[in-house]
Symmetry: C2
Amino acid sequence: MTSAVAFDLDALVARIRPVSEEARTAARAALDAKTKPRGSLGALEELAVRVAGIRWDAAPGRLAPAIVLAAADHGYARQGVSAYPPEVTGQMLANFLAGGAAVNVLTREAGARLVVVDAGVLEPVADPAVRPLRLGAGTEDASRGPAMTREQALHGLAGGAALAEELAAEGVGVLAVGDMGIGNTTAAAALAAALLPAEPWAVCGRGTGVDDVGLERKVAVVGRALAVNRAALGDPVGALAAVGGFELAVLAGVCLGGAAAGCVVLLDGFPTGAAALVAARIAPAAGARMVAGHRSPEPGHALVLAELGLRPLLDLGLRLGEGSGAALALPLVGAALAVLADMATFADAGVTDAGR
Amino acid sequence: MTSAVAFDLDALVARIRPVSEEARTAARAALDAKTKPRGSLGALEELAVRVAGIRWDAAPGRLAPAIVLAAADHGYARQGVSAYPPEVTGQMLANFLAGGAAVNVLTREAGARLVVVDAGVLEPVADPAVRPLRLGAGTEDASRGPAMTREQALHGLAGGAALAEELAAEGVGVLAVGDMGIGNTTAAAALAAALLPAEPWAVCGRGTGVDDVGLERKVAVVGRALAVNRAALGDPVGALAAVGGFELAVLAGVCLGGAAAGCVVLLDGFPTGAAALVAARIAPAAGARMVAGHRSPEPGHALVLAELGLRPLLDLGLRLGEGSGAALALPLVGAALAVLADMATFADAGVTDAGR
């Protein structure tokens, strides 16, 4: 992990430009000239304008999409906060590599590229298709001490950012993020509670299906993690290290690197939202480059999206993670850009414009 | 219009089978064996199960989509209920045929076929690509008497149903509906008010952008249409003829024919919702074969969807019509079917199943 020492987080943050108000204004004007009542495509038009601003281009055309799916294990899982045992993280990582998981199916449907990252599952998977950014073999139990060191967190941020910048250099314009990790809605809840801030009960939900007793345990675990690590929660990297997770560190890095490279950063559910909140606290300009794919039923997710100022594109009750909600939102991004690129204007089509 | 005389509406209704509970149960079981927590894909899973029931097939595979977009003019438009002049209907019909409208762009994005129907615009468009199902040159002003005759309404139902059955025979499995007609949210509001029933103010909205004065006028026009035609509103075909529109008649026929032919009938906004409500009142079994693509901001739309028992897939503030919201929902239908067809099971993938 010597590379973390060489990582200059401030330089990365400095590379994140604001969005272009000129491109937004020009895209809005272009949409207003199209053969439809002004604003009648609702959130789709707002999305097209947002992408134009992010890309500094009023006519961004089509953008190639990729999903970075990072998996890791969590010390929290030893506290019985999930309906599933920890070995499922590694089993699902193998499933992603074999192409059988929901995100594989949805990524294929969306015509996107899927990049699977091992950010630190308990047992490494020996497969050349996996991108190794291992920060360890699962985090420590944050209810008893820090989940990871600050160096590990910085290493994750650096690795995620480098991956995002590499993908952008290869032509990716929409960079979606997805997560896998048994116990990671607990890590996301602890991070959200630390950063918003919020009470543990306000950010803990049932994850992938924990029962009432499990939910009470989860709230208590988050409370203990916050109490034990209180001194470390004052800055976003400190909070990430103390109560977060390896895949959340990598994904926060992907958000920062994607923002620096001019990508549209497309979020999935609660864990990616918590990672995005870390990124936006490190670099407020990164927040303007994010798009929320969907709203999950996790109570903390709505709070995080509100804090990021994002209105999600979909609200389908998805609680899977993996980037599944981001993958489902990708066709809407494509549609918004196609409307901006391809629709006729009132003048082109000889249609009377009522000017509304 | 002699063909209307030969049209046997009862025979069409009798061809609409209930959905298959066995196929639904088997699809639910298949989804529960996939490598994801039970139900964690939320509304996407409900959609897959619904389609399985409609198709009488627990493994319906991929379904070819088509959008039937019907355009017509409305006598209501003479009452100043729209922000746009009536000639825009015909101009937009030409735009659909030239490929420059929003629905053209969105249909191409979704890989769907677009069938453009002239159900009765003021001036016919001379283009072999348009499907002529003209019931007249615009409806009469329903605030002064019936919009059309019962024979015209039946002719529209017959033509729409025949078109849907023809498309199904050509392999279409998802039949989406779209509308174009200056003044048609007024027709939809009057139909919804008659059938739900509801007060005019509860179902009238701003359509594509009418101002406060226009909205008041719209509410008054709907009230007069209901009062003038009161005696005709007792049955759905009577209401359709008295206060509806030509494209709504054709689209109600498409809903019935699509349901009879085993298609998934995918709805767009308020006018298609009103047409679907006519279809469901004529043939209650048709309702179970519908899927709501999106929720529009028109207040009557939410009431119609609730009456049909449908929860929309998208809620993006779309108020364009044309089938744009249905086109945007098509990738979700495709994704739901891909999940059902392609995801690995816990047993396939060697993933531990917590059984939740």
